[in-house]
């Protein structure tokens, strides 16, 4: 049993912490990044590349740094603290996670160095309107066409899909809409004829896109991974994203808690700091309890995402997400309430943390969804 970071991990955490403080320490900076046509900062992205963050989880032989879930956790906790808007989850965790596991040697050799170098961003076009949180619900089709494929369908709320240099699209090569078998992945350039994207801002200050695939013709080698057998891979990568989301929520919760506690000390009413009032003190104390519980669950998620038994892994990640979602919701709402009116303003940052937490809580499945997964499994997996 060991909860210590290695020296390398500690150095990584320190460097990312400094980087995020430099680039996001002043909340006005984030507003400027969002104003870029991309909705994020290319300069920051280059900074992440220079620090090695964009190659972090890839194997060294593919041009990466061989980082694992603990490294990812450290990155996302820091990103949560800064409310970072760059497409790291979409590119490195989701797109990169699929690419590194499903890509051929040739695909990996071409694309991973580009990602690590900051020249290429990815997006994972999987969500469909009817699917809600069910990863196996895919209606988009891919039919053989000549020597290649023809894709038809519509994908929604594709994180950073508007600016991605490549899309990884899930489509059905066999089976019915809700079958677990028959789902495949395709790697495509969004400029391909028949792909239309409608980009938009999301409520938490990031970006996403609707992607329509209308008779999109792809060569045979656009297939990424096993034909018809992509679902286990998708589930694994989404679990990794879930672990990252737990860490990001933790970072955001800690900042919001500290902001709230500082405000309680500064704001005076009835001739004293409102932090003197016990009703507010106890709610602040509960915020500390919540962040500690969230930290434990983010660690649990990081450790269990490496679990080789896929069903145990899925249940554990759902357990982590269900609780983090509940804690994030509770802490976010309490933070706004304890601040009072100031947190209702667009200008002050607390409200932005609250909004990000509300979105993270529902991303890749909300609390109810993940609790249902745990309930259906009959409870948590017993640790070895």
């Amino acid at each position: 049993m060991d909860f210590d970071l290695t020296d390398e991990q500690r150095m990584l955490a320190d460097s990312i912490g400094r980087l995020v403080t430099d680039s996001y320490g002043d909340f006005e900076q984030r507003k400027a990044y969002r104003a870029d046509p991309r909705g994020w900062s290319p300069a920051n992205w280059s900074g992440y590349a220079e620090m090695g963050l964009l190659g972090l989880p890839f194997a060294e032989e593919d041009g990466g740094f061989g980082g694992g879930p603990v490294e990812t956790m450290l990155v996302f906790e820091a990103f949560g603290r800064g409310l970072v808007v760059e497409p790291y989850l979409a590119t490195v965790v989701l797109g990169g996670g699929l690419l590194k596991r499903a890509g051929t040697a040739a695909q990996r050799a071409t694309l991973i160095p580009e990602i690590a170098g900051g020249g290429l961003t990815l997006a994972f076009a999987h969500q469909e309107r009817q699917a809600r949180h069910d990863l196996h619900d895919v209606a988009t089709t891919a039919r053989p066409d000549g020597t290649g494929w023809r894709l038809d369908g519509a994908k929604g709320v594709v994180l950073h899909g508007d600016t991605a240099g490549r899309l990884i699209v899930s489509a059905r090569t066999a089976g019915a809409r809700r079958d677990r078998e028959g789902i495949s992945l395709f790697l495509l350039d969004p400029a391909t004829h028949g792909v239309t994207r409608r980009g938009y801002a999301t409520q938490d200050g990031l970006r996403a896109a609707e992607v329509v695939l209308d008779g999109v013709l792809l060569p045979a080698d656009a297939l990424l991974g096993p034909e018809g057998g992509a679902l286990p891979l998708i589930e694994w990568v989404v679990d990794e994203a879930q672990a990252a989301i737990c860490a990001e929520a933790l970072g955001a919760m800690e900042v919001l808690r500290d902001l709230t506690v500082d405000y309680l000390k500064q704001r005076t009413q009835f001739g004293q700091a409102i932090g003197n009032f016990q009703a507010l003190q106890h709610r602040a104390a509960d915020m500390l309890v919540a962040t500690e519980q969230a930290r434990s669950m983010a660690m649990y998620a990081a450790m269990m995402v490496q679990e080789s038994d896929a069903s145990a892994r899925r249940v554990a990640l759902s357990a982590a997400k269900a609780l983090v979602a509940r804690l994030a919701d509770q802490l976010g709402k309490d933070a706004v309430q304890l601040h009072g009116g100031i947190a209702m303003t667009e200008e002050y940052k607390a409200g932005h943390y609250f909004k990000r937490l509300a979105i993270l809580a529902g991303l890749f499945g909300d609390m109810d969804h993940h609790l249902r997964v745990v309930v259906a499994a009959g409870g948590l997996p017993e640790a070895a």
């Binding site: 049993m1 909860f3 003190q281 104390a285 609790l371 409870g379």
Partner: protein, 399 residues
């Protein structure tokens, strides 16, 4: 970062697991598992078996029968003990007065009390709370006045757990009323057979006799029974209470109870199927399991931090463990009562009237409601959850 135990830790765990399950009599462990009151002999039997193997007082100094364990080993010990439904060695002896005497007592006190305390030859009671001193413990009023070679004690203690079995009591008493309230308190030991001490039972809402009032009426106690220095008792009490950090959340015990709830829910009929088939019930059970997992990792983090640094820095973790641990313990007893359903209603006969009558319902169900009632105490004792929130707000958030 790794949740798993090392091979050495697994071997250590497996040894303990085997020992607890093979050596501690099953009828005693069954009572613990069902949440029934233990008889005095049950505690004594169990603790003596543990002590013979060096497992009653692992957190004591090695010279006095402690174990040179790592924090992880201590954690495994508590977890396995609770998971096997072994009665905890009497806390008043092994976690409270024992470490205080070992740390602050005279050599004569150590020789006289520690071996007997470890083996439960002496049963200790805790004389801290008073009718007017609960959360505000330092306002206690029981006095000890010096008279020649003795102190004379007058006053009343309350909530004295298992005081009906006690041979001795360790008390916080006021020895100086002229200074700040924390600075006029001393820590003193009294033989329960001393003239002037009387014990009155308090029957709690579960029907049990677990706690008592203890009255001191001109009780003459030899001055040699003072522990450490006069008027330093508050420091010793804080030391004593800080010893409880591992195990306060009772994670092993709650795990065992939730597993039992699950098993019983799977075999208790409800309509077309079993209680287990009710999704609302299972949702509540799942929440308890999930929260327990988060707490378990929080506890492991505390253990790991103890290993990497012996820090005296204020740390909110014991308050967090207390708040969440008590909440989840309470949830587990409520779930058990809900499984019992209508057969939570028949009231079991009291211990002293004999428990051997056949149960009205399933043989476990009559203990469910009393346990639920009894467990309201866990968010009250040991510093109520509201006091814990005060501590967090003041000591860690600076409010």
């Amino acid at each position: 970062m790794d949740l798993r135990y090392t091979p050495d830790e697994i071997a250590f765990r497996d040894d303990l697991r085997k020992f607890f399950r093979s050596e501690i009599p099953l009828p005693i462990r069954r009572k613990v598992s069902e949440g029934r009151a233990l008889a005095r002999e049950d505690y004594v039997t169990s603790q003596r078996i543990l002590h013979a193997r060096g497992l009653a007082t692992p957190n004591w100094p090695v010279a006095w029968g402690g174990q040179d364990w790592t924090p992880v080993q201590r954690y495994i010990y508590v977890e396995e003990l609770q998971a096997a439904a072994v009665p905890q060695p009497l806390g008043f002896n092994v976690n409270m007065v024992g470490p205080v005497i070992a740390t602050f007592g005279s050599e004569a006190q150590k020789q006289r009390f520690l071996p007997a305390t470890a083996n439960l030859d002496i049963w200790w009671a805790q004389g801290f709370s008073e009718p007017g001193a609960g959360s505000d413990l330092a306002s206690l009023k029981t006095t000890a006045k010096r008279d020649g070679d003795d102190f004379i004690l007058n006053g009343q203690k309350t909530w004295t757990t298992l005081g009906q079995y006690a041979d001795w009591i360790f008390c916080l008493v006021r020895t100086d009323a002229t200074v700040r309230k924390q600075q006029g308190i001393s820590f003193i030991l009294a033989d329960m057979k001393t003239p002037g001490i009387s014990v009155r039972p308090i029957i709690t809402i579960d029907g049990g006799h677990e706690v008592n009032e203890v009255f001191f009426d001109d009780v003459r106690v030899p001055a040699e029974n003072l522990v450490g220095e006069l008027n330093k008792g508050w420091d010793y009490a804080k030391f004593l209470l800080s010893n409880e950090r591992i195990g306060i959340a009772r994670i092993g015990m709650t795990k065992e109870r939730l597993a039992r709830v699950k098993r019983l829910a799977q075999e208790t009929p409800a309509g077309e199927g079993m209680v287990w088939d009710d999704p609302d019930f299972r949702r509540r059970l799942a929440w308890s399991e999930i929260e327990l997992k988060a707490l378990e990792i929080t506890q492991m983090r505390v253990v790991a931090a103890q290993r990497s640094k012996a820090s005296d820095k204020p740390d909110p973790s014991s308050s967090i463990l207390k708040i969440k641990g008590s909440e989840i313990q309470q949830q587990s007893t409520q779930l058990l009562m809900d499984v019992a359903g209508p057969y939570a209603m028949p009231r079991p006969d009291r211990e002293e009237e004999g428990l051997n009558l056949p149960s009205v319902g399933p043989d476990w169900a009559d203990a469910a409601a009393p346990l639920f009632f009894n467990y309201r105490k866990v968010s009250i004792y040991g510093g109520s959850n509201e006091i814990q929130r005060n501590i967090i707000a003041k000591a860690f958030l600076g409010l």
